[in-house]
Symmetry: C2
Subunit: 374 residues, 2 copies
């Protein structure tokens, strides 16, 4: 095996490939990057227990002298390529188990792992994948995964439920204290689907999705989901089990609707959270819509002190006065997901879940359960 | 006590004051910021076991209604001021033990600490302080404190030795494996001094020294050193004990002197350190001056692989070939302190300390002990 490639092209690909590298694993081969060198293409494969990534590198800088496949210690390989000088780098295999790397004034040899230990990984493509704008895919991830559960006692809630029903794709995440839902329109001619993708897998996908590529293809199989994007195949396992039916959780009638400037509401809650009583790791803040249409955001910590923030709704509020208490973190997390500068907070009652929506965020619903106080 | 001040002016001062706040302390009053409000001046005092900071705030935005002194929970106070909106902020004391803070649409009350618990701190000024350009003070700190010992078994080595002898100020730090020395010329009419300042104190001083103020005044007392800088008084305790006599450690004759481009040498050592045998937390790298005037930087890890880097000296090297092994971290730490693009590495022998100097860094000497191998 012997080839030359542009150092920066290789590095940019390795920075994607390493997202699926295992760092701690009982299987040392999963700490390796598998390199398959063909006549005019170099393929990298990396895999951990959640995701597998396959990259096809076809670059004009690529000069392949001889083909082959090897398994390289991943972390060291990426560290070395990152620090190399010289526009191009040359690879050759010595004695079947040593990789020699030549670039600029550097001469590096790296002991290889046994490529025969590496499992055969399948990256199955469907004939009719779902096609999504990659910006929309990024929005879906950004607006939902934060609401997945971080604790493992109900594993299904650590994932995002993706459903395709007719012309609608729905992404839903909940940790049972809050719920995020994003609905997106898609072409009609697709089979219905209902899967749960680990939130961590989606976070990794988010990090490698650039905004300049237009389309992402989603291939769904029985046990896995595969995202095809540029020269990247990104596969994630699915979570077993039934995602809770959440449609009845979202209220449909809202006697009180308050329209806010998002930023002004955010900073008021942020300040109030500084001096608030804690419930677990979360700060409890109260919202009080007064009869004069002024909203007070308040907190009170007997030890530390009190905060009272006045926020002025953008329109005369529909409905009666209301007092409600909530986790400031959940409210701020939810507000961050909106592109809209103006948002609506919709209340059903003082101990009922409330909903946040925005005009410039069609299909996005953030729901938060209030906290009972006193 | 009642006054109004520009929010940003106050915040900028608090960001300096908080450097001396204790976070974990058995003495809760040391978590407080003491505010002394006079007729036309607000003073803040903060203190922990190593340093004390006194700031005098005289700003045109300051409107003082009534004087007094209070002790405010420091962390919460800084957090609140950081997040306030509104150009100015108004403070008033209620019931002797509550601070009310009004700014924009925010109304905050903060429970105060008992100001009578706060110790009386002295910030004594001398008639004839040492005067230094603040840029030179920053250089001294940057070029020496990194070489102090991080472990406490010889406490004196966790400090930087500052000596004034005639027209010379010397700063020396060593962890017994390396030594940094910076000599600076000063006016003659000063008493000799010889003190050891905790490295951590100097690191904090470094963070608050801006480069736009020209002069720093150094007031030395029996038990402490006080830096006067703009509206800041920064006082540090001194370390007890005798700093080791280091003058004989630095060789004076160098049979081998190699001139390098600093950056090229740095990146070669950095790459070699990736695949090197470890001694403690440190990577061991070898330098080999060949007879053909090429320098090889090499490392070898039986498990991982080998690196050989070629570096070309900038001039025909004086002296014979030499092989020497050293900690890559120590060498790179030392190189980072030089402003010079071209540096000299000066050798006495293969198991003798070697020295790094640079033409554009007068008075700066970095010394490193080699590592014995085989």
């Amino acid at each position: 095996m012997n080839f030359i490639i542009s150092t920066s092209v290789l590095l940019n690909n390795l920075l994607v490939a390493q997202k699926a590298l295992s760092t701690k694993t009982p299987a040392p081969y999963l700490q390796g990057i598998k390199l398959e060198v063909y006549q005019n293409e170099v393929i990298t494969i990396t895999s951990n227990s959640d995701i597998s990534i396959k990259l096809s590198i076809k670059d004009e800088s690529l000069k392949i002298e001889s083909q082959g496949e090897i398994l390289i210690p991943g972390k060291f390989f990426v560290d070395i390529i990152r620090k190399l000088e010289g526009e191009t780098v040359e690879f050759s295999v010595i004695d079947n188990n040593i990789l020699r790397i030549l670039a600029g004034d550097s001469d590096v040899t790296l002991n290889l792992l046994n490529v025969e230990d590496y499992p055969e990984l399948d990256f199955p493509l469907n004939d009719e994948p779902i096609r999504l704008d990659s910006k929309i895919m990024k929005s879906i991830i950004r607006q939902t995964t934060f609401a997945t559960s971080a604790i493992e006692n109900r594993p299904i809630l650590t994932g995002v439920n993706i459903r395709v029903e007719g012309e609608k794709l729905m992404a839903i995440a909940t940790d049972s204290f809050r719920l995020s839902q994003k609905n997106v329109d898609i072409p009609k001619n697709l089979d219905n689907m209902n899967v749960v993708i680990p939130g961590k897998s989606l976070d990794e996908l988010f990090r490698i999705l650039e905004s300049n590529l237009e389309e992402i293809l989603i291939h769904l199989n029985h046990k896995s989901i595969l995202f095809e994007y540029g020269n990247v195949l990104f596969q994630s396992r699915l979570l077993d089990g039934n995602f809770p039916e959440t449609s009845r959780l979202i209220p449909v009638e809202f006697p009180v609707i308050i329209k806010f400037n998002k930023e002004k509401l955010f900073v008021a809650i942020d300040r109030a959270s500084l001096l608030s009583s804690k419930e677990g790791s979360s700060s409890i803040v109260k919202l009080n819509l007064r009869n004069d249409n002024v909203v007070e955001i308040t907190s009170n910590s007997p030890e530390l002190g009190k905060v009272t923030e006045k926020v002025y709704p953008l329109e005369k509020t529909i409905g009666m006065s209301i007092k409600i208490a909530f986790s400031s973190k959940y409210f701020m997390d939810a507000l961050k997901t909106f592109n809209s500068e103006e948002i609506y907070v919709k209340f059903t009652g003082e101990i009922r879940p409330f909903v946040i929506e925005g005009d410039n965020d069609p299909g996005l619903t953030q729901l938060i359960l209030p906290v009972r106080t006193e």
